[in-house]
Subunit: 980 residues, 2 copies
């Protein structure tokens, strides 16, 4: 069989992807591009790039069945992109799967096309007419005996039963009998021509079944159908094969299950006994028809040879699984991503060759600083930012209309007010109530609304900057620091200092965000642990000694009573003895100077444990529901809804549980009146009067520290939000962001509110809750992450809600704090997910053979990966220690330190390794160019993996140089247009 | 290229699996078996079935590298069964994956073998000698210019660097430079012959690296190696190809990474510029060498043509993935199971043909009643059971020596004592302490030890039969019932009544075990909920009013005092007024007639919530740890250990937490003294004296009910344990089991202990904790479930431990009951897993397209599956209601009802559907034979899936009749030997 094939390979071969044919006997070194006749044919018909793209093909395969003495065509499989098979029993579609073919069937199909009738651009308007023409052609060509003509036509015009039709409802007793019907094959076949039935079971108009078919929405609008009909009949002695392309796509009655016009028709009728073989051939042609390249060929083929050339190209590219290592019965799930057919096509369009090779491997291209150019002019960056964001302004609002936004708003809102309350409480203590919960709420609302309305990246959520322990005692001094800081920010904006973000590589970014996540997690746990302190459990409690547990309020002795400043609530002097001490509550008792005596005084039952249950329950339920998207239960949409609203549902559940238990767990109490926390002060802080004049200038120095903190916090968070993995489409606006942060700083200082800066974890949570996925189009195609619902509305709503929380107090007071701490824990843990650093830490615990197939592991030796991770861990540990000791004040400077460490890593790791593990730092002149080249190389190899083919490299060299020039001009901003 | 191929297919084809070649132009209907020359060749060399099986091949592929100016062979991939590739950077093995080849490389390889030198059965003792002979042959054949001889030999004798060798430790600073070394290719190659180096880098003895290689344990003992060497050199103008088979496998120095003797050698050296192509050819031959069939061919080939025929057969069987639906870069994970090559081989050994076809598809064969034959003789079944079990007696003990057994013993022990305690408590209440916790412990120990020592299926765990509310008030009456019941059991044994189990199909079995699981789960939850009743939470508690909560003991008023029978512990009459009432504990207060006054009296703080945390924590931690086996962290063995000991670790953790909290949660208190619970009675119950004589006879009637319960409980549990999915090897012993249950019944009745019967859920847990998996042999092969560690020791130990629990009281008292309820919950939930019924219930919640690919779903219409499930659910609901109402007494009869329902399903469902969803009931004569046939058909189609090929069916017909005869004789026991 294969005997002469080997020799044939010598003659010449389609040279796709520059594979070199291996001419064993010829002593000549073969040239790279050896063009076989087949390849030349394809190049001729596919080379013309100006052609409109061909429509998508929907392929349906029907097989001839003999049900209850009647012949009919029954749908047995269909393809949009992947194969769906009708399962045995005919009541079920299989899951979409990759069509695994046998090599046989492909060769047999090739033979079919070589010997059968090929009718291209047939003018067809109805199935009977088409069938007549096909049969006529066969008779003309001597392939079919004229006396069989009628029989073939009769068979081909039997009615088609599609999988959409509900099976005829048989009574339960009938079911048992049906198994025998399949036995009557020979009887049915031999009797069909004696029956006096119409030649034509096919109607012209699409049936209601077709029109109602919901499957239609899975098929692209412009799609056309190709129908494959295979079957065995007893009157033929050799197969009847026809391949028809219609001049115009035509709806041929009930031929197709959906009302899609038919363009191609493949018919294979053969002698009995080989139905399996026919089926496989049918599957082969159907698979070919949905192949991007072959369908192009089928549309453009001029003759039989073009089609054969198409099959040959297909065979050239097939992937072969060895029979001993794979079970053909396994249905292979569609891959997450299939390679684009453009690569294959590009071989045939000569003039595109270079270009295609250069870009095809790109994949995850585009640098993080996309759209970020250094303009030499004053405020150049700011103006560019505004110019970039302005066109999106309208869509920033209407893009928000989606149910997902509601869940995002609720989630982020709860995060924000929890933060505002806990932070406000701390701040109140620290500032002697000059700034408290009220200020915290008001500030959050004000800063948030302004930033979300006008900021460069409205997905960023602003929260209170960490309190600077005791630095800012007086409102006036604080105002001046704020003003200085605002001025410094504006200077940074004007000088385009945000250019520094190019040095914020993955190393810095992930280090910083991990740190913030850890702080979130540790804060949540600390607060939870606090309940155990606040509500101590009586460990030695013995239910039997319930009679012994009491706590009495004892009146103070006379001496101590006289020492105390006795003040009653109504102002009158109280006489200790006049009180019924036993009727006083704990607070009252202490207030009036009584002492609590008894062994249950310092314990509070149940609350600590209940808090723990609420905390942990909320966290675990959120995690579980979030994962529910990947479960098999319920329809996809419902699952997605559950997943989107997981936090809301968990909160509701545990609020409900808390109400059911009726325990006095600590609740979320928001202020209910609009007034400054400290009654003495007004809303506006006056700039002069209380401090000596030099203080106004000296405050420049602490302001500098604040500015660095604000700047780093803001920009790193922005870098994280603008990560290329998030696929943001509306561009970034670092300068604009910083501008507004500066302005808000001054405003807040005047109003005596806290300062606000981007919150890493909550911003990540915001992004996560707004992620969009494609509705899968073809069955089996994996939904793709499309990007984030970029808009301003969710942010604005969150902060408006925060502002009006004062009025929401009656609702909010049902929410126990431990539930919100659970949400915090979830936020911290969730924001660690998807961080490469975190993945790499996990690698330490995995034995080599169980490690996931991360691409960087294929390219960078494990010990270097580990070393890199270790450096990051040490950096984080140092930062953590700094953060929690007195050195907290230098923390922002330390983040700059991260960037210095990263720079030093250049000395230890090769640029190749760093390109995989991190990003390449931009550098000067020639060195920079080299790096760029390497980066491009890496991108290319990321796309093409370890394809180190010399040819491709050479070919893409000119493209590289071109791309490099563009990137260079982007960085140094020679023209503003290129960045648009 | 493929042009002439199509025509070639006409000439004739290897007809494996009876595929019929599709002769398009020939009008002759082709015969099924068309034997091509290639197939005839293979049949000739493979047909001889008496040959010893060929050794397993380990294949290593080395490629020629030019590192730092030196040439060397570097290992680039290896195959035991699946491919492992050396990743870029050379420091890492990829995960084992299926070798995806290109069709090209296979054809190119075919050409190589057609044109290159083939040296079969070469006498080789060292690499240099072999290389010399190969080169000599090439020169002789005119394939190699004589002047190139030395150069080729030089290249082939360069040293081999294997992946085991640690990379030379370079300093960190060096790493950056290394990237440039790969550029020097042309320089190195052109200079190698000018360098004065030894021609031979290869040593003869295996190096220590080889010997120390741990990979050796992944390779079967008798394995031989095949080495593939590919590389490009600049002096050749056409490729140098050689395929060598040595007459004797020989260790060729450092050629192979492991000290495995080399049998095959494939060399491909070619001109420069096509390294990728050479690599692919190398991968192709390597993949072929590990293919079961091709390696046979390679061992037995007589000439070049045999090898070519082998490749052709391989190509015949390959699976093709279309390029548009699959990304060749994806590494395909090895499948769970690959089809055996026997099927392919069987085509070539004519005399085995029929047999192979009949059995190959079997897969999950063997009926549940394997080894269960109905012997006409008195006690025939019992004797057969003993005969079957006796030979295993010794292995029943030494098979237990494995660490897994320890975990199983601990797990089941805790389950048993928890059961004994809770049951004992209930029993004590019900029988007025005639039987209590002590009796429960003692009985469990006695019955368990006896059963595990002598029973037919020692994996079954006996626990107390459910208490029969109030039926057995007097020990004497109970004794008589027990005696009658024992007698009835023995009659059932003697008459081989256990034959009835053949009617216990999956339907009954899963219904019963689900019911028991639900009871377990509901009991666990009920007991947990009980803590909230037992330790009520004070819901309105306000921490501020701590001073108001008290509970005082108030002395009774004088009148009520005089009404009460005042008894002091020391017997003296007590004067109410002499007591300090405020110092009394709750119990004392109530005892002395005081009343508890106060608002905290009826509340117990913390204990309920703590109990809940312990309960839920134990359950979730066990579930989580059990799944840990499938995580990526830590080495496989450690993971398996953690998974095996998950219950133990969870219990320890939560016992620890409980100790840490120091709360008085309810603990496991076992009796510490060996004496009957009721002090009045001795250990032996006397049979006569207390009841009228007719009672001794009348007790026959209640005994009958007890017998039915015992019989059904015992046999269904045994059927579940003996399920074929458990792959038990030592056979079952239904008669023997029942015999001992009967004997124990009488014994326990005499001793006044409760009765014992098989416990479904705990027995399943026992089986689960003793499951064995194969250590995966070839890398990438999935570990297979091998069976259960069948032995008597774990059971015996469990019950011995139960017996000595009296002495373990000091340890056991630390275990809180809620932890044990958590374990119960886990047991109930875990025993639901793997039940098809449960899977089918889940289907209700899944949309069609997300349903898992269960085989029965491919064959049975979904609505019938749902109908079947619904019937089961209704049956269960009815049983549940019966169980929980007064009708509990008829519960055992109702299980018989399940079997009747199943019988009626025969009328509603077709036998085909039932065969997939359930099992076929045995029936009489002809009908039975038909069913058997269908069952076989189904098995066959299970194996071959929807391969409805007529040919195969015909061929296997005679086999079927044969198999049927065997099964028939098994059922009706014409010969005892067949069941052994």
């Amino acid at each position: 069989l294969w005997q002469r094939l080997g020799q044939q390979t010598k003659n010449g071969k389609t040279c796709s992807q520059c594979w070199v044919l291996f001419g064993m006997n010829s002593a000549l070194p073969l040239l790279c591009v050896v063009v076989s006749p087949a390849a030349e044919r394809l190049r001729y018909i596919l080379g013309d790039e100006d052609d409109a793209p061909t429509p998508t093909l929907f392929t349906e395969m029907d097989t001839l069945q003999h049900e209850g003495g009647e012949l009919e065509w029954r749908e047995s499989a269909r393809w949009v992109k992947f194969e769906e098979k009708v399962e045995e029993g005919g009541e079920r579609w299989s899951k979409p799967h990759v069509s695994t073919l046998s090599l046989h069937s492909l060769f047999e199909l090739r033979t079919c096309l070589q010997t059968g009738s090929i009718l291209l651009d047939l003018e067809g308007y109805s199935l009977p007419q088409i069938v007549d023409e096909v049969v006529e052609r066969q008779v003309e060509d001597g392939l079919l005996a004229p006396e069989l003509r009628e029989k073939v036509v009769f068979v081909l015009l039997r009615k088609h039963r599609h999988q959409t039709k509900k099976p005829i409802h048989r009574s339960l007793a009938d079911i048992g009998k049906s198994s025998s019907t399949s036995e009557c094959l020979s009887v049915c076949v031999s009797t069909y021509h004696s029956q006096s039935r119409s030649m034509n079971d096919i109607s012209d108009a699409p049936s209601t079944d077709q029109l109602k078919n919901k499957f239609m929405k899975k098929i692209p609008r412009d799609a056309e159908a190709s129908n494959v009909l295979v079957g065995e009949v007893d009157f033929l002695e050799k197969p009847f094969v026809a391949f028809v392309r219609l001049a115009q796509a035509t709806t041929l009655g009930g031929l197709t299950e959906v009302p899609v016009p038919t363009r191609f028709l493949f018919v294979l009728l053969g002698p009995q006994g080989k139905s399996k073989s026919y089926n496989e051939i049918g599957r082969a042609i159907a698979t070919l028809m949905v192949d991007d390249l072959f369908s192009d060929v089928a549309y453009k083929a001029r003759d039989r040879e073009d089609l054969i050339a198409g099959i040959d190209e297909f065979l050239d590219e097939v992937i072969v699984l060895p029979p001993g290592e794979w079970d053909p019965k396994i249905r292979i799930e569609p891959p997450k991503k299939v390679p684009s057919a453009d690569m294959r096509k590009s071989v045939f369009s000569l003039n595109e060759l270079g270009q295609m090779n250069g870009t095809a491997g790109g994949g995850g291209g585009s640098t993080r600083t996309e759209g970020e150019s250094l303009d030499g002019r004053f405020c150049g960056g700011l103006f560019l930012d505004i110019k970039r964001k302005l066109p999106w302004l309208l869509s920033d609002f209407y893009d928000a209309f989606h149910i997902q936004s509601i869940s995002a708003v609720l989630f982020i809102y709860l995060g924000c007010i929890t933060n505002a309350i806990t932070f406000g409480g701390l701040l109140g203590d620290a500032t002697d109530n000059y700034q408290g919960v009220m200020e915290s709420f008001l500030g959050t609302a004000l800063a948030g609304v302004v930033f979300c309305c006008f900021g460069g990246q409205p997905l960023i959520i602003l929260i209170n900057a960490q309190p600077d322990n005791g630095v800012i005692d007086y409102m006036e001094l604080r105002l001046w620091i704020g003003l200085h800081s605002c001025f410094q920010c504006l200077v940074l904006v004007a000088t385009d200092a945000s250019y520094i973000i190019k040095y914020i590589t993955r190393f810095t970014e992930e280090g910083f965000s991990s740190l913030i996540s850890f702080i979130f997690i540790s804060d949540a746990i600390k607060k939870m642990a606090g309940s155990f302190k606040y509500y101590p459990i009586n460990r030695g409690y013995n239910p039997d000694y319930v009679t012994m547990y009491k706590c009495d309020c004892q009146a103070p002795t006379q001496e101590s009573l006289s020492d105390l400043p006795v003040v009653s609530t109504d102002g009158s002097k109280l006489n200790g003895t006049a009180l019924d001490w036993s009727q006083l509550s704990k607070k009252e008792c202490l207030k009036y100077g009584g002492s609590l005596v008894g062994n249950s005084c310092k314990y509070v039952p149940d609350l600590a444990l209940m808090s723990f249950i609420l905390f942990f329950g909320t966290y675990s339920m959120t995690i579980t529901l979030k994962k529910f998207k990947f479960s098999r239960y319920f329809p996809t949409k419902l699952r997605k809804l559950i997943s989107d609203f997981s936090i809301f549902m968990s909160i509701m559940t545990f609020v409900g549980l808390d109400m059911l238990m009726g325990l006095q767990t600590p609740k979320l109490i928001v202020p209910t009146e609009f007034k400054p926390t400290r009654s003495g002060r007004g809303w506006i802080v006056k700039p002069f009067g209380k401090n000596p004049w030099w203080m106004y200038l000296a405050s420049f120095v602490p302001a500098l520290l604040v500015t660095i903190l604000i700047f780093m916090d803001q920009q790193i968070s922005a870098v994280i939000v603008n990560r290329k993995e998030n696929k943001l489409k509306k561009g970034c606006g670092y300068h604009l962001d910083l501008f507004w942060v500066g302005i808000l700083m001054a405003t807040c200082s005047f109003l005596g509110l806290p300062w606000y800066v981007a919150a890493t974890v909550i911003s990540i949570a915001h992004i996560d809750s707004l992620k969009m996925e494609s509705e899968s189009s073809a069955p089996g195609e994996q939904p793709q992450f499309l990007g984030v619902r970029e808009q301003r509305l969710t942010g604005i709503l969150v902060f408006v809600l925060t502002g009006v929380s004062i009025f929401l107090a009656p609702v909010l007071q049902f929410i126990p704090m431990p539930v919100l701490y659970g949400v915090f824990l979830y936020m911290g843990v969730a924001s660690l997910g998807g961080i490469q650093f975190w993945d790499r830490i996990k690698l330490f615990l995995m034995p080599l053979k169980h490690q996931p197939d991360f691409t960087y592991l294929r390219h960078v030796p494990l010990r270097k990966v580990h070393l890199f991770t270790l450096v990051q861990i040490i950096c984080l540990a140092v930062l953590w220690i700094l953060k929690s000791t007195v050195a907290a004040i230098v923390f922002p400077v330390m983040i700059l330190g991260l960037m210095v460490v990263r720079k030093m890593l250049d000395l230890v790791f090769s640029q190749h390794d760093l390109a995989w593990l991190d990003d390449i730092l931009p550098e000067k002149d020639k060195k920079k160019k080299e790096d760029e080249k390497k980066k491009k190389d890496r991108k290319k190899s990321k796309g093409q993996d370890d394809d180190s083919n010399e040819e491709v490299r050479k070919m893409s060299l000119c493209t590289l140089i071109h791309v490099e020039r563009i990137v260079y001009s982007c960085y140094y901003g020679h023209s503003a247009n290129t960045t648009q």
